[in-house]
């Protein structure tokens, strides 16, 4: 039986994502408690240069599948490659980020390995040698503590929850793994990528989110949300009401039928706080609400509230943030 922890590192634009450092942090703690080795995994094309960055975060060994067939993400390609890595590393726990990619890859990998998956963990502990994980359900209206019936187990970890491993002067040994990939094994063919004019970070991984609701009165006023998000260095979110009304794309929806998010700062503007919206954002570290109704439910979860009209408060707030940041 395997031992230790394998951290599947995600990268974008030839840079490691912050989630990779978060996995390294929680992975080292788990590996220590389980008494096994810690290692990293990198799959893709031309990604061998990223090994060093993982070494600095305390992963002494990194398994790499560098293959032209992995230039674009496919669940088949990546899961086949990672299965080969798992066979080489023989870990007890396989960690990956519960990012847009991880939500697809995690179960695909678990299915190929024939093991279970714990999705979107927000706490991980080792109790009497066993892994206990906490994961939100009902978009955060409740949470489950679960344990794997057997090992290995795949665990996807919610981004922005665990402390990233500090950068040090560690170095990593590269272990090249040949996954023997053939074109036919990748059954889903990516024909094309339609890039938006401006590529934004996914809501689930954003540090700062500024969301707008019906209080904005119409899509033409969302520039206020966009401006505030821009000056704060965050991304735009939206309530279900405005997505259903067609003001904003569904990709921006925060809530039980949208995205469940845990940013450092969540600013809810003109959102009264329907229960399904609150569920999706109440694990944010700091919540600010601006709403003209002092009885709005959103104030019950907010750390700081301003009772007021978004059309008066937001321009002033944008100005103040600009001044503070010297923009």
């Amino acid at each position: 039986m395997g031992s230790g922890v394998l951290c599947i590192a995600e990268s974008a634009g030839n840079e490691l994502k912050k989630s990779a450092f978060e996995l390294a942090g929680v992975g080292q703690r788990l590996a220590g408690a389980l008494g096994g080795p810690i290692s990293g995994a990198l799959v893709g094309e031309g990604i061998s240069g990223l090994v060093e960055g993982l070494g600095k975060r305390g992963l002494p060994k990194v398994y790499v599948v560098d293959d032209a067939a992995l230039g674009r993400y496919t669940s088949d390609g990546y899961a086949i490659a990672l299965k080969a890595v798992v066979q080489a590393a023989d870990p007890a726990v396989i960690l990956l980020a519960s990012s847009a990619m991880g939500k697809d890859l995690g179960p695909a990998l678990a299915a190929r390995l024939g093991c279970g998956i714990i999705s979107d963990a927000i706490a991980l502990e080792v109790v009497d040698g066993k892994v206990h994980a906490t994961r939100p359900v009902f978009a955060g209206k409740a949470q489950l503590e679960v344990e794997p019936a057997d090992l290995p187990v795949v665990v996807s970890v919610r981004p922005n929850v665990f402390e990233p491993a500090a950068s040090g002067d560690g170095a990593a040994e590269t272990v090249a793994v040949d996954a023997d990939l053939t074109g036919e094994q990748i059954r889903v063919v990516v024909k094309e990528l339609l890039e938006p004019e401006e590529r934004t970070i996914d809501l689930t991984e954003a540090d700062i989110i500024v969301s707008g609701g019906r209080g904005l009165k119409g899509p033409e006023h969302f520039h206020l949300i966009e401006e505030l998000a821009a000056v704060l260095g965050g991304v735009v979110g939206a309530s279900r009401a405005v997505v259903d009304a067609g003001w904003r794309p569904h990709t921006e929806q925060v809530g039980q039928t949208g995205k469940t998010v845990s940013p450092k700062l969540y600013v809810a503007c003109g959102i009264s706080g329907a229960i399904q919206h609150l569920a999706g954002m109440s694990s944010s570290k700091c919540i600010v609400a601006v709403n003209k109704d002092p009885e709005a439910p959103v104030f019950k979860v907010a750390d700081y509230g301003i009772v007021g009209d978004v059309f008066e408060v937001l321009p002033e707030l944008i100005k103040a943030v600009k001044e503070k940041k010297g923009l």
Binding site: I118, L144, L193, T251, T260, I275, V307, K324
Partner: protein, 249 residues
Amino acid sequence: MNILVLLKRVPDTAAKIKVAADGMAIDPAGVEFVINPYDEIAIEQAIQLKEAGGGKITVLCLGPKAATKDIRTALAMGADEGILLVDDTAGRDAVATADALAAAAGDVEFDLVLAGWKSVDTDDGSVTHFLAAKLGIPCVTLITKLELGDGQVAAHREVEGVTEVVEVKLPAMLTVQKGLVEPRYTSLKGIMMAKRKKIDERAAEAGEPKIRIRTMTPPPPRPEGRIVGEGADAVPALMQALSDEQKLL
């Protein structure tokens, strides 16, 4: 073109969730149950494909006996037949669910399996992958557009703001995201017709869970917040809180 659609009965997203006294599941008292909103989109897409090209739609559901009502709703929307795998055990995980669904899917002829990309109760999103693996078919998640070709489908997947255009040969599993199609309301005629449609009810195959539930708890309470002020005048107080107390600015 025959389509198998997966359906799950879940608490309405507007419902307050309370943990039951045993601390292992939710207390269903006073909770309204509905078709998982993403599965509803899958049902609608199946009906639109059938309206365009014919075929048969079978709805497969694992759940309590009360889920008959939800299957009936899908039949009223336009699906042809239902299968209910009666399962009252709490704590069935994704693997055990997929095992039971796979056993039943073996009796159905299909070219395409459609389902919501996740259910809004467990928020897991892995049953479809496990089921696809069991059935030996590829799985394409989070689709927002679907075009039927000759023995294959083209689909759009939205991932991190980028739209992937993918192709996959049939049979395949496709899981749907909001934005694909708008589910229709049931008509009186549809409801009347659904009464005559067949729902095959049988016990769900027992399964071995790979993940065990230890406890269910309410989320930890958030620390008490405060109103920093009213209107634009409150902005300096907010700025101070965000920079001095939270170190965010």
